[in-house]
C-alpha cells in the first residue's frame, strides 16, 4: 500500500538500524513523545533493532492517558443522565474513572456513541433536537482544530442542544515540564509528527535552545522512527541541539495556519491537570468566553469535581519517562486491560497497553 509499505520496508529499516549503531559511541536516552509512536516501536520491535546503549522512553503523548480522572467522572455523570447522547472517540470508552467507565454507562442504558469526528456529534445534535448532545473533546493539537470547527459551526448555525466536555492539551508545555523536572533523564526528543502537522515546529526551537536538547519531528511508521532516532543520535553525538524535521512529507515549519487560526478563535490557553502528573501551567485549551455557552460543565452544572486516583498506578511516572511499564508492580497482574488501574493500560496509545499486548512477560527485563 502506497505511503505505508515503503515505510515498513525491512531492508531500509535494517540499514537505518546499522547506521544508528555505527554512529553511537555512548549511551543515550531518547523520548518519543507520541503514544502512536510508542505503539509502532513496540509492535514492530524497533527497540530490538537498536544498539543496546540506546534507551527509548515513552512520552506523555497519549490523550486518553492524560485526561484527568475528574473529567472521566464528569463524563460518566453526564452520559448517565436521561435525554443525553454522549459522543466520544472510541478509545475513551474503556478508560476507568473513579465511578466506572463509559462502556458500563452504555451497558446500563446510557446513550453513549462512538464518533469519528466532533462534526459527527454536531450532526447528531441537528438530527435529535430534543436531546442534549455532548462531545467529549480530548486530544492534543491534532484533534483541536476539528473540535474548534464543530464549536464554530454550532455557533454559526445557532445549535443550542450541543455542548462539549473539553480537555484538550498541548505538547510543548508537557515537554518543558519533563525537561525541567529534577528526575529528567531524557536527552533528545522525537516530537509528534501529527501535532506538528497542525502547529508546525517553531514552538520547539526555544525548548531545544534553553535545555540544549535535540528535537526531531518524527512520523509514525517504522522507517520514520528509525530515521528520527538516527537524526537525534547524530545531533547528540555531534553536540548539537536543534529542531529537525524527519516528517517533511507532512510537516512544514509554520504548520497549518488556518487550523491554528481556528484554534485561537475558539480556544484560550488555560492551566490543565494531566492525569498522574498534576497541573501544568499553560498546558491546555479551554473555550474562549464567547463560546462558553457550549461548555458542558456549565450546562450540566458539574464544575469542580475532585477525585482521588488509585495510588498503585505508576502512569504519571511512565508518561514522564521515569519508569517503564513493567517496572510497575501492578503491571499485568492487578492491572490488565480487563481490570485497568489506569488509562495507559486501555488506551490504543498507552505504553502499558503496548507492552501488555505485544511483549512476552519475560522479555521486558532484557531492555
Amino acid at each position: 500500500m502506497k505511503f505505508v509499505d515503503e515505510y515498513r520496508d525491512a531492508q531500509l529499516a535494517d540499514q537505518y538500524a546499522r547506521a544508528v549503531a555505527r554512529i553511537t559511541t555512548r549511551p543515550w536516552t531518547i523520548m518519543e513523545v507520541c503514544g502512536g509512536q510508542t505503539h509502532t516501536i513496540v509492535r514492530f520491535g524497533i527497540d530490538e533493532l537498536l544498539p543496546s546503549n540506546i534507551t527509548l522512553v515513552h512520552g506523555p503523548g497519549c490523550p486518553v492517558c492524560v485526561t484527568p480522572v475528574e473529567l472521566l467522572d464528569q463524563a460518566v455523570e453526564i452520559a448517565s443522565r436521561p435525554g443525553v447522547i454522549f459522543c466520544s472517540f472510541g478509545d475513551m470508552l474503556r478508560v476507568p474513572g473513579t465511578r466506572g467507565d463509559l462502556l458500563s454507562v452504555k451497558a446500563r442504558g446510557g446513550d453513549v456513541r462512538i464518533v469519528y469526528s466532533p462534526l459527527d456529534a454536531l450532526r447528531l445534535a441537528q438530527k435529535y433536537p430534543e436531546k442534549q448532545v455532548v462531545f467529549f473533546a480530548v486530544g492534543f493539537e491534532t484533534t483541536a482544530p476539528a473540535t474548534a470547527m464543530a464549536v464554530y459551526q454550532a455557533s454559526q448555525q445557532g445549535i443550542s442542544n450541543f455542548s462539549l466536555l473539553v480537555s484538550h492539551v498541548l505538547v510543548p508545555p508537557a515537554m518543558e515540564a519533563i525537561l525541567a523536572s529534577p528526575d529528567n533523564r531524557v536527552q533528545g526528543f522525537l516530537a509528534a509528527g501529527h501535532v506538528c502537522t497542525v502547529m508546525g515546529y517553531t514552538e520547539y526551537e526555544p525548548l531545544a535552545e534553553k535545555y540544549h536538547v535535540p528535537i526531531v519531528v518524527t512520523g509514525f511508521e517504522p522507517v520514520d522512527l528509525l530515521q528520527g532516532v538516527y537524526m537525534c543520535i547524530k545531533q547528540l553525538e555531534e553536540g548539537r541541539a536543534e529542531v529537525e524535521n524527519q516528517y517533511a512529507r507532512s510537516v512544514r515549519r509554520e504548520g497549518n495556519q488556518p487550523a491554528q487560526q481556528l484554534i485561537r478563535e475558539i480556544f484560550q490557553i488555560v492551566p490543565r491537570k494531566w492525569r498522574g502528573v498534576g497541573e501544568i501551567p499553560q498546558s491546555g485549551l479551554g473555550l474562549q468566553e464567547r463560546y462558553q455557552v457550549f461548555d458542558a460543565e456549565q450546562r450540566f452544572g458539574i464544575a469542580g469535581y475532585t477525585a482521588e486516583e488509585s495510588g498503585e498506578c505508576l502512569g504519571g511516572l511512565i508518561l514522564q519517562g521515569v519508569k517503564k511499564p513493567w517496572e510497575c508492580a501492578a503491571f499485568g497482574t492487578r492491572c490488565t486491560p480487563e481490570h485497568p488501574l489506569g488509562a495507559m493500560m486501555v488506551s490504543s496509545e498507552g505504553a502499558c497497553a503496548a507492552y501488555y499486548r505485544y511483549r512476552r512477560p519475560t522479555s521486558h527485563e532484557t531492555r
Binding site: 500500500m1 505505508v4 515498513r8 520496508d9 525491512a10 529499516a13 535494517d14 502512536g36 513496540v42 509492535r43 514492530f44 520491535g45 524497533i46 530490538e48 533493532l49 490523550p63 486518553v64 472517540f89 472510541g90 478509545d91 475513551m92 470508552l93 474503556r94 462502556l103 458500563s104 452504555k106 451497558a107 446500563r108 462512538i114 469519528y116 480530548v138 486530544g139 492534543f140 491534532t142 484533534t143 501529527h194 517504522p222 522507517v223 486491560p337 480487563e338 481490570h339 490504543s348 496509545e349 501488555y356 499486548r357 505485544y358 511483549r359 512476552r360
Partner: protein, 351 residues
C-alpha cells in the same frame, strides 16, 4: 485464564467483577472466553464441550455426527457482499466444515421485529435458499417468532447444523502438533471492514465487500485428497489473531507466523490505518486457517489455491513445542512480538 477450580454453588455469580453483561462479552476476546470458561463450561461440562471447538462431534450408532449452532445479529441486515441470510447459512456450514464434516441439514429460527419490511425478509430468505443450494445442504426444520417493535434489531437468525464426519477424520485443536504448517485461506479483514463502513457511514474510495463464502467444498477437497488435516478454524469474530491464540492455548503449542506473508488487501489495510484497527483482529466470514502435517503442506496449499474461496491462500507460519500456549509474529521489519487476545472488540482510536 484460570480454570474455574474455585467455582462452587455457594458462589452466586462466577463473573462477579461485571455486574452487567457488556458488549465485549460477545466480542470474541478475553471477556467472551471468561464467560465460557467461568459460567457455561463449569455447569454444562462434558467431553465434547471441553474441546471448545466450532462444533461438537458425537458418536451415534457408529456414525460420527458433527453438530453446531450459531446466531446471527449483524446490522445492517444487507451489506456489500452479502446479507444476514447468506451469513446464517454459510456460517453454520463453515462451522461444520471446520469439524471435518460434510454438512447435511440445517435448522433456521427467525426472531423478527414487528415492522420489518416484508420485502427485506423475502430478500434474505431467498438468499438463504441460494446459499443452502450452493453448499448442498437442506434447511429441514425451523421456527418463527415476532417480537414487539423496539425489542429486536429488525431480524435475528439462529441456525443449527448437522453433518457427517468420515470415520478416519479427526480434526480438533488438540490434534495440532509441533512441526505442523499453518495455512491461511486468503486475505483477511474484509467482512469486518465492510460492515463497519456501512454501519458507521464511512465512505472509502472503493466499496469493500464482505468475504462471506461457504468453505465446505474446499475442506471436502482437502479431505478427499487425503491431506493430514490436524485442525481447522474459521476466522470469524476476533479475526485471525484470536483463532491462533485459542488454538495455541488449547493445544499447548507455540505458533509462529510471519506478518509479511499474511495477505491483506490495500483497501482493507487503508481502512484499518485510518481507523487505527489491526486487521489481525478484524472479523471474516469466508476465511479459515488449516494446521497441516508438514509433508502435506505443499499439496494442501495447491488444492486451496485452486478453489475460489482459497485462491489467495498462503503458508503463514508453523507450530513448535515451546513456549507452549504462545503465538508470536515476525513483524514487517523482521522483529518478533507476541499476538494476544483483546478484551473485546477493537475501538477506533482518537488520532
Amino acid at each position: 485464564m484460570k480454570p474455574a477450580d474455585g467455582f462452587t454453588l455457594s458462589c452466586p455469580i462466577p463473573i462477579a467483577e461485571y455486574p452487567t453483561v457488556l458488549l465485549a462479552h460477545g466480542g470474541g476476546g478475553k471477556l467472551t472466553r471468561a464467560l465460557i470458561e467461568h459460567m457455561f463450561l463449569p455447569l454444562f461440562r462434558n467431553p465434547q464441550l471441553e474441546q471448545l471447538h466450532d462444533g461438537a462431534v458425537l458418536e451415534l450408532a457408529g456414525t460420527k455426527l458433527a453438530f453446531t449452532t450459531d446466531s446471527y445479529v449483524v446490522h445492517p441486515l444487507i451489506f456489500p457482499g452479502g446479507d444476514i441470510g447468506q451469513l446464517a447459512v454459510n456460517g453454520t456450514v463453515n462451522d461444520l466444515a471446520m469439524c471435518g464434516a460434510r454438512p447435511l441439514s440445517l435448522s433456521a429460527s427467525f426472531i423478527i421485529e414487528e415492522g420489518l419490511p416484508m420485502e427485506t425478509l423475502w430478500h434474505i430468505v431467498q438468499s438463504m435458499q441460494h446459499a443452502a443450494a450452493a453448499a448442498g445442504v437442506a434447511i429441514v426444520t425451523g421456527d418463527t417468532k415476532v417480537v414487539d417493535r423496539g425489542k429486536g434489531d429488525g431480524l435475528f437468525i439462529n441456525t443449527a447444523g448437522v453433518g457427517i464426519v468420515a470415520p478416519h477424520v479427526s480434526i480438533a485443536p488438540g490434534n495440532v502438533r509441533p512441526g505442523d504448517v499453518v495455512l491461511l485461506s486468503g486475505d483477511i479483514g474484509r467482512h469486518g471492514i465492510a460492515i463497519m463502513a456501512v454501519r458507521e457511514g464511512l465512505a472509502f474510495e472503493s466499496v469493500i465487500e464482505s468475504d462471506c463464502a461457504p468453505l465446505a467444498g474446499l475442506v471436502a477437497a482437502l479431505l478427499d485428497a487425503g491431506i493430514a488435516l490436524h485442525c481447522l478454524r474459521d476466522l470469524t469474530r476476533g479475526g485471525l489473531a484470536s483463532a491462533l491464540v485459542e488454538i495455541a492455548e488449547t493445544a499447548q503449542v507455540h505458533i509462529a507466523v510471519d506478518e509479511r506473508i499474511i495477505p491483506v488487501t490495500d483497501d482493507v489495510q487503508g481502512a484499518c490505518e485510518i481507523l487505527g484497527l489491526d486487521p489481525l483482529y478484524v472479523a471474516n466470514e469466508g476465511r479459515f486457517v488449516a494446521f497441516v502435517a508438514p509433508a502435506d503442506a505443499g499439496r494442501a496449499l495447491e488444492i486451496m489455491q485452486t478453489h475460489p474461496p482459497g485462491a489467495g491462500a498462503a503458508r503463514i507460519g508453523s507450530v513448535a513445542e515451546d513456549p507452549a500456549g504462545l503465538v508470536t509474529m515476525t513483524s514487517k521489519i523482521g522483529a518478533s512480538r507476541i499476538v494476544s487476545l483483546l478484551s473485546g472488540e477493537q475501538l477506533p482510536r482518537i488520532c
